[in-house]
C-alpha cells in the first residue's frame, strides 16, 4: 500500500522539485542572459525573448545603379551583421509586404521580376536599367543575438579589474590569517589539558553569535585614532585583514576544534609516549588528518570575505571591492542593465568557481559547524 501511494505521488514530487529549481535558477539565468545582450535590446525587450528567434520586418530599396550594364541585378537585402537571419516572406508594395514566400518570384507592377531567397539573396530583372529603384519589404527570423561586448566594456573601462584585484587582496589574507591562528588555538582546545579549557570552548561558541555590528564602531574609532597618531592611512588592507581575522576566528576555532577532536586519541597518546613535542604532533599528525575541516573553513571564510560589503565599507575606501562597486553601480547606472549584469557576473565568477571546486567541503563544513 505504501508502495502504491509512493508511486502515485511521484509526478507531484517531480513537479514540486522542478518548480523549486526553476525559482532558484531563473532569476540568475535572466541576469546571465542579459549580460550577453546588446544594451538597446535589453531596454526594449525581456531577456526571455532573446532565447528564441525573433521576427523582424524590414524594407530595402534596391537602388538604380548607373554602372549596371545589364537588366539583371543581384545582391542581398540583409546587412553583413544580419547573417544567419532567414527571410520568411517578402513583398514589393507597402500594402502587401508579405505577399510572397521566400524563394518565390514576384512580378513587379511596372514589369520585371524579383526573386528573394531565404538567405537574403535577391535577383531583380528589370526592363529599365535606369529606374529609380525597387522597394522590397520582407519579414525575417533573426537568430538569438549574443555579444561579449558588455564584458569587454566593464573589464576595460569601468575599473572592474582593479576591484577584482582588491577583492582578492581582501579575501585571501583574510582567510589565511585566521586559519593559521585558529589552527594553534583549536589544537590547544582539542588536545591539551589545562584549567579553563571548557570555558574557553563555550566562549568561542558564544562569540559566534555576537553580531558584527557590536564591534564595528570601536574598531573604526581605534583605527582612526591610531592612523592619526602614527600618521598612517586609516583605510588599509592590513586594517581590514586584522578585522576579518578577529571576526572570523570564533567560527574557525569552533570548526577546527570539532575536526581535530575527531582524530583518534590512541594516535596522539602514542606520539606523546614517543616523546614528540606538541608542535610536532600538531604539524605531523593532527594537521594532515584534519585537512578536510581546514578546507571547509577556508572555503567559508573566503566566500564570506569576498562577498562581504559591510566590513569593506567601514574599513576601506568606497567602491574599492567588487561588492561595494556593484551597489554603487546600482545607484548611479541603475538603467544600464547590461553593464550591471556583466559586472555582477564578473564579481560572481570567483565565488562560483570556488563553490563548484569545493562544493563537498562547503557542505561538510556547514554540517560540522551546525551539528556540533
Amino acid at each position: 500500500m505504501a508502495g502504491i501511494t509512493g508511486r502515485r505521488s511521484r509526478p507531484i514530487l517531480h513537479l514540486l522539485l522542478a518548480a523549486m529549481v526553476l525559482l532558484w535558477t531563473l532569476p540568475t539565468l535572466g541576469l546571465f542572459v542579459t549580460s550577453f545582450r546588446a544594451g538597446d535590446a535589453v531596454r526594449v525587450s525581456g531577456w526571455w525573448t532573446a532565447l528564441a528567434p525573433a521576427t523582424q520586418s524590414g524594407m530595402v530599396r534596391i537602388a538604380g545603379d548607373d554602372t549596371a550594364s545589364g537588366a539583371v541585378r543581384s545582391g542581398s537585402v540583409l546587412r553583413p551583421d544580419q547573417s544567419g537571419a532567414r527571410i520568411t516572406a517578402f513583398g514589393v508594395s507597402s500594402r502587401d509586404p508579405d505577399a510572397f514566400a521566400a524563394g518565390q518570384t514576384a512580378e513587379l507592377p511596372l514589369g520585371g521580376q524579383l526573386t528573394l531567397h531565404a538567405d537574403g539573396r535577391y535577383r531583380l530583372v528589370t526592363p529599365d536599367p535606369a529606374a529609380s529603384g525597387q522597394r522590397v519589404f520582407f519579414a525575417a527570423t533573426m537568430p538569438p543575438a549574443f555579444t561579449f561586448q558588455n564584458y569587454f566594456h566593464v573589464l576595460s573601462s569601468e575599473g572592474l579589474v582593479g576591484s577584482l584585484v582588491n577583492s582578492a587582496l581582501v579575501a585571501v589574507p583574510s582567510t589565511l590569517l585566521p586559519l593559521t591562528l585558529a589552527t594553534f588555538a583549536a589544537y590547544a582546545l582539542a588536545w591539551m589539558r589545562f584549567p579553563g579549557r571548557a570555558l574557553l570552548a563555550v566562549a568561542t561558541v558564544a562569540l559566534m553569535a555576537v553580531p558584527l555590528q557590536m564591534a564595528l564602531i570601536p574598531v573604526l574609532r581605534f583605527y582612526n585614532f591610531a592612523g592619526q597618531a602614527l600618521g598612517l592611512d586609516t583605510k588599509s588592507f592590513l586594517g581590514i585583514w586584522l578585522a576579518h581575522t578577529g571576526f572570523g576566528l570564533p567560527l574557525a576555532i569552533h570548526l577546527l576544534r570539532a575536526g581535530m577532536s575527531a582524530v583518534p586519541r590512541e594516535i596522539i597518546e602514542a606520539a606523546r609516549l614517543d616523546g614528540a613535542s606538541e608542535l610536532r604532533i600538531l604539524i605531523g599528525i593532527v594537521l594532515p588528518l584534519s585537512l578536510p575541516v581546514l578546507a571547509a573553513f577556508a572555503v567559508f571564510q573566503f566566500l564570506w570575505t569576498w562577498n562581504d560589503i559591510m566590513v569593506a565599507l567601514v574599513f576601506l575606501a568606497p567602491q574599492e571591492v567588487l561588492t561595494a562597486r556593484l551597489v554603487n553601480l546600482m545607484g548611479s547606472r541603475g538603467g544600464e542593465w547590461e553593464v550591471l549584469a556583466a559586472s555582477t557576473f564578473v564579481s560572481l565568477a570567483v565565488p562560483l568557481v570556488v563553490f563548484f571546486l569545493f562544493q563537498r567541503h562547503v557542505v561538510r563544513g556547514a554540517v560540522a559547524g551546525i551539528s556540533t
Binding site: G6, W48, V165, A209, M214, S347
Partner: protein, 333 residues
C-alpha cells in the same frame, strides 16, 4: 613606488611569518627555560604543560579580545556618549531608541523578518531536502538550489532587482515578474517602492539565498535517521508523507532547531540586500541598516550607532542562551 598589491603580499607574508615565528619561538623558549630532562624533569614537564596551551592560544585570544570583546564593551560605553563618543550623555541615546519613529519602523520590520525568514528558509530547506533525497535527479537539483549560498548579497540584489524591474504601463516590461503580471492581465507594480510589499520581497530574496544552506544540513540529518524506524512505520501501512512528517522529521528536531537559530542570526545581520535595493526607503528599513547609516550619517553619530548595535545584541541574547544551554547539554551527554 611599489604597486599596492606587492606591498599587500609582502605584508601578508610578514604577518604569516610572525605567527609561525611566535609559535616556534615561544615553544623553543619554553623548552629552554623548563627543559624536559635533568634533575627537575617531572616538575619542568608539569609546569611547561600548564604554560604551553597559552602559547598556542595566545595570538587567537589577542585577536578575539582586540576585535570582539574589547569593541563590544566599547560599544556599550559609547551608547552613553554623544555623536563624537566624547561627551557623556547618560541615557539620552537609549531614550531616543525607544522614542524615534524610524527606529520603531526598523524594529517592527526586523521583528517581521525574524518571524518569517527563519521559518520560511527552514521549511523550504526541509522540503528541498526531502525532495532531493527521494528523486533520482535530486543531486543536480540540490546543487542548483544550493548555488545562491555562494552569491553575495550585492549580487543577489542586482539579480532580483532585475526580476522586480518596473516600467510604466504600456512600455514593454523587461522585469520577469511584471512581464508575468502583464501577461496574466494585471497591472505592473513598482514592487520595490511599495511599503510592506518591498519588505516581503526583501525577505524572499534572503530566503532564496539561505534555503540551500538549510537544505544541505537537513538533508545530511535526514540521511542519518535510522532506517528501522522508517521500515517499521512502512510495515504498519504508513504512507510516504506520513513517514516523513511523523517518523523522520521528529527525529531531526535538533538539526532543525540549529538551522532555525543559524537563520535567525543571519536575519539579524541582514544588511547588504536592504542597502542595495531600498537603503531603507519606503518603510523597508531594518535595524542593521539603520545602525550602519547612523554610523556615517552627517559625519557619523557613534552614540546612536552604538545603541542600535546594542538593540541587535539584545535580540541575539535569547539565541545565545539557547546555544550555550545546548552546548552544556551535549557536554554532559
Amino acid at each position: 613606488m611599489l604597486h599596492p598589491a606587492a606591498i599587500a603580499i609582502a605584508t601578508l607574508i610578514l604577518c604569516l611569518a610572525a605567527a609561525l615565528a611566535w609559535i616556534w619561538g615561544a615553544n623553543w623558549l619554553l623548552d629552554r627555560i623548563l627543559p624536559p630532562r635533568g634533575t627537575a624533569i617531572s616538575r619542568n614537564i608539569r609546569r611547561a604543560a600548564l604554560i604551553r596551551p597559552w602559547l598556542f592560544l595566545g595570538p587567537a585570544l589577542l585577536f578575539l579580545s582586540a576585535f570582539l570583546i574589547y569593541p563590544a564593551l566599547g560599544t556599550i560605553w559609547l551608547s552613553f556618549h554623544g555623536p563624537d563618543g566624547k561627551a557623556f550623555t547618560g541615557l539620552a541615546n537609549h531614550a531616543w531608541l525607544w522614542r524615534d519613529g524610524a527606529v520603531r519602523q526598523a524594529a517592527l520590520n526586523t521583528g517581521l523578518w525574524l518571524l518569517v525568514v527563519p521559518a520560511a528558509a527552514t521549511a523550504l530547506g526541509l522540503v528541498g531536502a526531502a525532495l532531493t533525497d527521494t528523486l533520482r535527479w535530486g543531486g543536480l537539483a540540490r546543487i542548483l538550489i544550493f548555488l545562491p549560498v555562494a552569491v553575495s548579497g550585492a549580487a543577489a540584489a542586482v539579480i532580483w532587482k532585475f526580476v522586480l524591474d518596473f516600467r510604466p504601463l504600456g512600455a514593454p516590461q523587461t522585469g520577469l515578474l511584471n512581464a508575468l503580471v502583464t501577461w496574466a492581465g494585471g497591472t505592473p507594480q513598482p514592487w520595490i517602492a511599495q511599503p510592506i510589499v518591498n519588505t516581503l520581497f526583501l525577505m524572499a530574496i534572503v530566503v532564496w539565498t539561505q534555503t540551500g544552506f538549510a537544505m544541505v544540513i537537513l538533508s545530511a540529518a535526514l540521511r542519518a535517521v535510522p532506517g528501522d524506524t522508517v521500515e517499521a512505520a512502512r510495515l504498519d501501512g504508513a504512507t510516504d508523507l506520513q513517514v516523513f512528517l511523523w517518523i523522520r522529521v521528529p527525529q531531526i528536531r535538533g538539526p532543525i532547531t540549529a538551522v532555525w537559530l543559524a537563520m535567525t542570526l543571519v536575519v539579524l545581520k541582514v544588511f547588504d540586500i536592504v542597502l542595495a535595493l531600498t537603503n531603507g526607503q519606503w518603510n523597508s528599513n531594518v535595524l542593521a541598516n539603520l545602525m550602519f547609516s547612523w554610523m556615517f550619517r552627517g559625519g557619523g553619530d557613534f552614540g546612536r550607532g552604538a545603541v542600535l548595535a546594542l538593540a541587535l545584541m539584545a535580540l541575539v541574547l535569547p539565541i545565545l542562551v539557547a546555544t550555550l544551554q545546548g552546548g552544556a547539554r551535549t557536554r554532559k551527554d
